[in-house]
Amino acid sequence: MEEQNKSEWNLVLPILALVSFLFVVLRMNPDSFGFDASTSSFLIVAVPLVVFPAILIIGQVYKGKDLWKHQLKEGGIIALAALAITLALTIWLIVEFFAHHAHFDEQGTIFDWITFDILLEDKALTESVFSFGIWIDSVSLTVLFVAAFLCFLICWFAIGYMNTDPINEDRNHRFFAEFLLFSMGMFGMVLADSFLWLFIFWEIMGLCSYLLIGFYWEKPSAAAAAKKAFLTTRVGDVFLMIGLFMLYDLYHSLEFAVIFGDPTLGGAVHGVDLQWPLFFMFIGCVGKSAQFPLHVWLPDAMEGPTPVSALIHAATMVNAGLYLVARMFPLFSEHHFEGDLSDLAMLIVWIGGITACMAAFIAFVANDIKRVLAYSTMSQLAYIFTGLGAACWFANEGYHHLATVAFGAALFHLFNHAMAKGMLFMASGSVIHEMHHAHDHVHLYDDDDDHDFDPQDMRNMGGLASKLPVTSTAMMLGSMSIIGIPLIGGFWSKEGIIGQAWNVYLHGGEMILFPALLVLATAGMTGFYMSRMWFMTFAGKPKTEAAKHVHEDTPWIKTPLVTLSLVTAFGGILLAMYGFQHFLGEDPDTAHLSSHGLLYTLRHAFLPEEMTLKLVGWTAILLSAGLGPFIAARMHGGRLDDGENATPMVAWLVDLSGSVGRTDVGELAEGGFAQALHNRLYIDDFYEYLIAKTILPLAKISAWIDKNWVDGVIKGIESGSQSTSTWLRQFTTGRASDYLLMAAVGMLAIVGILWGVV
């Protein structure tokens, strides 16, 4: 215990940074300096950008030194301090935004990246600029807060997780530096005021994702996963780039202010022309947010260290695609585009519906705790896509109020999901970490240590509820939020999304019926696979020796779990009462905290006026909170070993799971469909087959052709003049001095001729 306190004592530095920063800001009269929240917001990007190379370089030089390793946690403390500053700036920004958000519309440019001319149809040159600036509105603030808050907590977690593992020794500085670079990319993407800079930061995140997935580059699976992630998202990114080119061609600018701001410019563009650019940009979103058919990288990305999975592949980076769709949203609601873009909106809903269901199915059979969460991430992101698609459809069909409701619900789910999933990944990290340590402990003096032991496999766990009280509680709350148990976290937003998807159907979008059914069914499936994960891990009897010896004693990793548990448990309802959806969708002024808000929200969630919606809502609740967990409990639930007591927070759930009876599903798990699910529906195999059968042979053949045909012609000419070359070869004696002599004589001759002629 003492040692633990000592290690967290290092927190003095980041906390000091946070407090002193806030102190300085509050003491100073901001206006007199021309320095306020909005003008200083570029620091949110600049601070990590400056600190990350510092950590990298100092770490490379001082690695192994006591101060660096134990006091600064191989740079973790520095990273945490930097993230504390960005979090403080973000909070300040939000406070200021509420105080007088009217001034936040346009922040001006920070610097001009490139300035150039373009030639228009009439052969006239027009100057155009790609500049970097800051754009702040309610959407960007929401995502920014999610990113800054989670980056801070996950960095905190990572100090505990990474620095206690000997395999990471002396290379954690690389982790923390890349982590900071990633945060920089995320903050930059959210704050950028043009699609171009959004894309630039988007790619920076892709790079960091590559670097962090490949953190254990010596593992072939990690190196392959990193490459797969980069290339798969690259496919999407390239289409996004094409979309941006098209958008540029239409507006001659990529700045939000120009594209959304100027009604005359909007008037010159036809909605039909926007279909393709928006479609291509959406492909980019599909790649980044791991939606079908570009989802294959996300499960493999779990090769990275767990904090990375939590940060990048659950909480922040995968939200980038959603954020971009949210940024495209105003174009859908442009008045004179009415009806032109509804097919695209429907496509977004379809992609969302298909992915939600597919990922949930695959999660049924996943045994790796992180992969369950990965598929769950895909599925939940798909929900958000469905909600955004519904919002886009409403907007394009002219139902502006419903559009804002759906839009708000979708982004609200983004918030809830990010918080819950970030916590779930950290909790799973805690489980894996402790399993790993327990396994090492059990087999400490064991010669026949089985190296095949997988600390991530849930079949090795079981009964951990009594050993990991904080983790099991956090995981329970997170799972409940994801499942959508009434009143907790994600319930509020998920209800909204499913409801609005059906609402589209009621308003004439018949095409949505299939995806709407899928998301409804997925609600129940979510209930099953999340409960399955929890029961397999925490309920029942320990399935291995290691699972019996697990202890929750690693420092640093409890604090973020507790913090996020509180946010997950109460954040949803508080924000719902506050009218968060309206804050996102409409004028922020309408949002305020009130008991009236609570009643309104409750009535809206449980007793909508429309009969179909009421039916859909209650079906979703029954499926997700009732049927799914019930089946999961019958299959995987069970009481703990005698004498083991779970913390009261989760004991009721363990007991409940032990009292619903037992179903054996061994036969079902052997079935063909289960096998297909184990193989991820063969989609990865199909892609691999496709690549191995098309582009790779093509490359080999091209290389051969280039060597033998294209160059062969030249070689033919050469051998034809064999005699000449034989003669020439006399002069190539191989001695430098001979050649130099020849060269010098030649040069002298040339100079001589020149002088002579002159």
Binding site: T115, D117, W217, R234, E718, A744
Partner: protein, 538 residues
């Protein structure tokens, strides 16, 4: 009469050539004992001259960036009026003058050359050949610098052609004497191939010469090689057909140099056999001679033909880009792969010019510059593979990041820069070219864009199979035998760090040292005044 001494460009051109020749002469004349002693000082003198050159070029740039606009030729030793009176003739009888000048197209190339030369010298500080001959190595590089700068600054086509061919000589020796196992073949192929191509260019230059009237005392032919006279002349090659022929002749010469498919096969062989410094210069500057010549002589003098042959340029560029990338994917030799990636990237330059958009042309020029920074880094990395692991076979090693962390870091930076990662120099050029490309050719943009995926694929795949994997320990290639693996030397590290830093600086701030701005101005002026001149569009 020669009025060229005292002009900074003249000094830039002739100082390294004379310096290098003198140093080689000194070395050659010394006896064996002294040679050994002299080798090291000669190296330092070479480096000193190269750094002095960099300083001079930087000063020229600074003065112009903050002083004058780049719209015209600066630092001419000889104004146009003086050219036509023959007051700066070099060979009076046939109308050759010493006429140098610099503008926003040539300055980036000159600066790039002066920047790369010291870096290449430092990277291959220990020219790996034993014995006294190695002292020639750095002198040859210095001589190369003079020839390259001569190409970029000369405004007289005769002199231009002489320098153009002069660049071949040091490179020929660099490959022949310090190259790999098959160096003799590669050196000959390189020389003969590019020499043959430039004969076409020479034919074009001669036609241009005979259509460029100028006469002064002593001028027997009544013609001049002067570029400015051609540019300003109102009746320069009147016949449309002849213009097309000349344009195509020039195109053959330049496309081979760039190189463009199908006349690219000299490049991989030359690169694979060349020493590190040779490859770095070959990719960094020599390929740009082709692009520079095309912009300077092809586009500026024959704007109508560029419009006429726009499709040809499009096809050349597209085939180079796509085919080059696909061939890269099939390579098993690291350096050969990087060489083909140069072919692929050079294709983008043709595409940029073919758009006939100021943005596209500016992007093409920036591509020349960005590729000039990034590709030397790539070849330096390849060189360190060859140097420390004695092989370039991609699949023969794993996990080298264990034994060579710095080399791996540089590989990562270079590879990422070359595949067009944002905030690195290559991305700026790619975005500029592709946006302009879409504005001109529309949906065809899908092809170059998809090629970016292939580019990413071959780079990432090659990294995975060399520096990564290995399962906890490094797997050395068989060529290592019992040697202990080492990381790169501090010489190599310094050079690569500078290149990597520049690639990032130019990605974040392309206007650093005024670069993108001057290129964009040049491109706008070209499109405004030359390609679509005002009288066509009043």
């Amino acid at each position: 009469m020669i009025t060229f001494l005292g002009n900074p460009l003249t000094v830039l051109t002739l100082l390294p050539i004379t310096g290098a020749l003198l140093l080689m002469l000194v070395h050659w004349m010394a006896d064996d004992e002294k040679r050994e002693m002299l080798a090291n000082p000669i190296r330092y003198v070479n480096l000193g001259i190269a750094l002095l050159m960099l300083l001079m070029a930087t000063l020229i740039g600074l003065e112009e960036t903050f002083g004058l606009a780049w719209g015209e030729y600066l630092y001419q030793n000889c104004e146009v009026g003086a050219v036509s009176t023959g007051s700066c003739t070099l060979i009076s009888s046939i109308g050759v003058s010493w006429h140098v000048g610099i503008d926003a197209l040539s300055f980036p190339m000159v600066w790039l050359t002066t920047l790369l030369i010291p870096i290449t010298m430092v990277v291959e500080w220990e020219a790996k050949k034993d014995g006294p001959d190695r002292a020639y190595f750095h002198s040859l590089i210095l001589m190369m610098e003079g020839a390259l700068i001569g190409v970029f600054v000369s405004l007289d086509l005769f002199v231009f052609y002489v320098f153009w061919e002069l660049t071949l000589i040091p490179m020929f020796f660099l490959i022949l004497l310090w190259g790999g196992s098959d160096r003799r073949y590669a050196a000959q192929k390189f020389f003969i191939y590019t020499f043959t191509a430039s004969v076409f260019m020479l034919a074009g230059i001669l036609v241009m010469y005979f259509n460029n009237d100028a006469s002064w005392v002593g001028n027997i032919t009544g013609k001049s090689f002067d570029f400015i006279l051609m540019e300003t002349s109102t009746n320069f090659i009147a016949s449309e057909g002849l213009r097309s022929v000349v344009f195509l002749l020039m195109l053959i010469g330049f496309a081979t140099k760039m190189p463009s498919v199908p006349v690219h096969t000299w490049l991989p062989d030359a690169h694979v056999e060349a020493p590190t410094a040779g490859s770095m210069l070959l990719a960094g500057v020599m390929l740009k001679m082709g692009a520079y010549g095309f912009l300077r002589l092809g586009v500026t003098l024959f704007p109508d033909q560029v419009i006429q042959f726009q499709t040809l340029l499009l096809v050349l560029g597209m085939v180079s880009l796509v085919y080059g990338a696909v061939v890269c994917l099939g390579q098993i030799n690291l350096k050969r792969m990087v060489a083909y990636s140069s072919v692929s990237h050079m294709g983008l330059i043709f595409l940029g010019v073919a758009t006939l958009q100021p943005l596209g042309i500016a992007g093409a020029i920036f591509m020349m510059f960005a590729h000039g920074i990034i590709s030397p880094l790539l070849f330096a990395v390849c060189g360190s593979f060859k140097h420390h692991y004695h092989t370039l076979e991609i699949d023969s090693m794993r996990g080298l990041a264990h034994s060579s962390p710095w080399m791996s870091a540089h590989m990562m930076v270079g590879w990422m820069g070359s595949l067009g990662l944002p905030l690195m120099a290559g991305f700026v050029a790619e975005v500029a070219i592709l946006i302009a490309f879409y504005m001109t050719f529309g949906w065809w943009v899908v092809l170059p864009a998809l090629t970016l995926i292939i580019t990413a694929a071959y780079y990432l795949w090659s990294m995975q199979r060399t520096i990564f994997e290995g399962g906890g320990d490094v797997q050395l290639p068989p060529t290592m035998r019992d040697e202990e693996p080492r990381d790169i030397t501090w010489h190599e590290n310094t050079g690569m760090l500078i290149l990597g830093a520049l690639a990032v600086i130019y990605g974040i701030y392309p206007d650093f040292f005024g670069m993108f701005e001057m290129m964009s101005n040049w491109a706008s002026l070209l499109v405004e005044n030359v390609i679509y001149p005002p009288e066509v569009n009043p």
